[in-house]
């Protein structure tokens, strides 16, 4: 198990490294000089030259890359152009808000998606199954930012059930949860559809298995067979699905943070763009990429922990 976990993390590090090369290459290849972008159109050539050498942009490309790579490994993502604060501090300040948002979205999607998928599987072919099926496709299809804006319009502006702006008072959990409800639902609702569909499919597959027949032959109740014996197996792929979907959720989080004016990485990057605060952008992108890769690795490891079959085959 441990060896597997280490191997999986090793693969993650390689992927992050390649992603960093690509990020760097993108910045380098794309026309537009980070220094002049940062300083804006009114900068004099001297100012640009000074910033270029401060940012190390006058060095040969491979030196630039290794400087970028190894300082990133040490946790040094550069400093904010204007305030001079370390980028990593700025990013980490915002990270918890985004993490809370994503955790909320996962909660919604799991709490609604698993029961819906289960009901659809049990009522296979019936009216309820068809309705759940169509709704699942629909919520997957509609982009999350449209859902975010419409839910803002309906629940916050028109009905005024929930607050529209911000992340809630610091230290006040109830207020924070209230502020979390709408944006996390907007992100999570599409995943309700994904999870419901997947749980339905794997549930139907599991119910055909011969150990389910055994359980029936031992007189266990249908309820226990469905919700304990079959569901335990049918929900396992959810972990993988969510692991892969985490990147998608980060994307949705950017929109949700902007629409609901919540602090967070997405809002940070968006605002950094409008003031051309370019190190913040690359820093935040790098952090989210690492986050994505780590979560993916964790999902694989978690599957190992949840599924005894995988667990043993790894030992």
């Amino acid at each position: 198990m441990l060896r597997y976990a280490l191997k999986r993390l090793g693969l993650g590090i390689i992927i992050v490294s390649v992603a960093m090369v690509m990020l760097f290459a993108m910045i380098y290849v794309i026309p537009g000089d980070p220094a002049s972008v940062a300083l804006g159109p009114r900068a004099t050539p001297e100012m640009i030259q000074a910033l270029r050498s401060r940012m190390g942009l006058d060095q040969p490309i491979w030196i630039q890359f290794f400087r970028f790579y190894f300082s990133a490994l040490r946790g040094d993502l550069g400093t904010e152009v204007l305030s001079g604060r370390p980028v990593l501090d700025v990013v980490f300040e915002q990270l918890p808000y985004t993490l809370a948002l994503i955790a909320g979205a996962i909660s919604w999607s799991v709490l609604l998606g698993i029961p819906l998928g289960c009901i659809a599987a049990v009522r296979r072919g019936g009216f309820v199954d068809r309705v759940i099926g169509i709704l699942s496709v629909a919520v997957i299809a509609v982009p999350s930012f449209v859902i975010a804006i419409y839910s803002l319009l309906i629940f916050a502006v028109a009905l005024q059930w929930l607050p529209a702006i911000g992340a809630g008072e610091p230290g006040n959990l109830a207020s924070q949860l209230k502020h979390l409800a709408l944006p996390s639902l907007a992100i999570g609702v599409g995943w309700v559809g994904y999870i419901a569909r997947m749980v339905r499919a794997s549930m139907l597959e599991t119910l055909e298995a011969s150990h389910i027949r055994t359980a029936r032959a031992f007189g266990l109740t249908d309820r226990r067979i469905t919700y304990s014996y079959a569901l335990r197996i049918a929900i396992l792929p959810t972990v993988t699905l969510l692991g892969v979907g985490i990147g998608n959720m980060v994307s949705s989080a950017v929109f949700a943070e902007i629409v609901f004016a919540r602090p967070g990485i997405g809002k940070l990057v968006y605002e950094a763009i409008s003031v051309r605060n370019y190190p913040v952008v690359t820093g935040a992108v790098l952090v989210t990429t690492v986050f994505f890769v780590v979560v993916n690795a964790l999902a694989d490891i978690l599957i190992g922990a949840l599924d005894p079959r995988v667990r043993t085959s790894l030992n």
Binding site: G32, P143, I149, G247, V250, V254, V281, F292
Partner: protein, 295 residues
């Protein structure tokens, strides 16, 4: 003469096949609904100039923030522009980008997938690693980084979509190519000295292209969503060009007083994504039920 027959038969069969597929789509309620939505969206984009006499970009300060009425079916925005007209013309841009970007991604995915699948092992591994790395950037983060450097433009949207879609397509093409590489008819062609280019285009490509086309058609709503999303953030289509995302942004700023702008921007996005998705789902079930397993 014989050539005539050879060409004629398959094409007649093809027409018959399209008819069959169409009938099967229409038999499914969801497929019929999806097809109807798609037809409406496409026709209203194509005939935008016929359907409305208002210009999508002309400012009319006197008519700012007019709610929906008979004159302005969806109302007007903060600059007095007719929203119905903007929605129809925005459809042109959305569909053009969706088709263009999907086409480009397909070409890219097919070429890279064939190379990875047919080329040497090390190249295959390297490309897989690159695909994984690209996938590890959240789409919007990738877009934000790109746009920081290039500035907002249609081109930036196009690049983002292609970057996001190519790895997925290439992976599928690669897997299929790997399987076909050792298939009998390919081995036979190879042993008879067929060139690599010939093997790829004659023997492999026709066999891998079917599933990927269906998948690509299912990605069209995703591309529509990316364009609208980036335009909403002000990173895509530049004003004053009409875009559904841009309308949403105009409406979002004024959401408390003029709700209809947001409604006008969101509805076409919802109808388009739903239509294409329902149609795509039905198409997939009709053409290739095996693909369903991939979820």
């Amino acid at each position: 003469m014989s050539e005539q027959v050879l060409i004629d038969r398959p094409s007649r069969q093809r027409v018959a096949k399209i008819g069959r597929v169409l009938r099967r789509i229409l038999r499914e309620p969801l497929g019929a609904f999806g097809l109807t939505l798609v037809v409406i969206v496409v026709l209203s984009a194509v005939f935008a100039d016929v359907l409305t006499s208002y210009s999508p970009t002309k400012l009319a300060p006197a008519e700012r923030f007019a709610p929906a009425s008979l004159q302005h079916l969806l109302g007007t925005d903060h600059l007095g522009r007719d929203l119905f007209s903007r929605v129809l013309h925005g459809g042109r841009i959305a569909l053009a980008i969706a088709l263009g970007a999907t086409g480009l991604s397909l070409i890219g995915g097919i070429v890279l997938g064939l190379i990875a699948g047919y080329g040497p092992r090390w190249l295959d591994n390297l490309m897989l690693l690159l695909f994984d790395a690209i996938k590890s950037f959240p789409t919007v983060m990738l877009a934000l980084t790109l746009v920081t450097l290039t500035g907002p433009s249609l081109l930036a949207v196009l690049i983002v979509v292609v970057l996001v879609n190519v790895p997925g397509y290439a992976r599928i093409i690669r897997t299929q190519t790997l399987v076909l590489k050792s298939a009998e008819h390919v081995m036979a062609a190879r042993s008879m000295g067929a060139s690599t280019a010939r093997i790829l285009t004659i023997h492999i490509l026709p066999n891998v292209i079917g599933p990927i086309l269906i998948l690509a058609s299912m990605d069209i709503p995703v591309v529509v969503a990316i364009e609208a999303g980036l335009s909403f953030l002000g990173l895509g289509v530049r004003p004053p060009l009409p875009s559904w995302g841009a309308i949403l942004n105009d409406g979002f700023v004024n959401i408390r007083d003029s709700y209809w702008i947001v409604v006008a921007g969101g509805l076409p996005i919802i109808l388009t994504t739903l239509g294409f998705t329902f149609l795509g789902e039905t198409l997939r079930d009709v053409f290739d039920p095996r693909l369903k397993r991939r979820e």
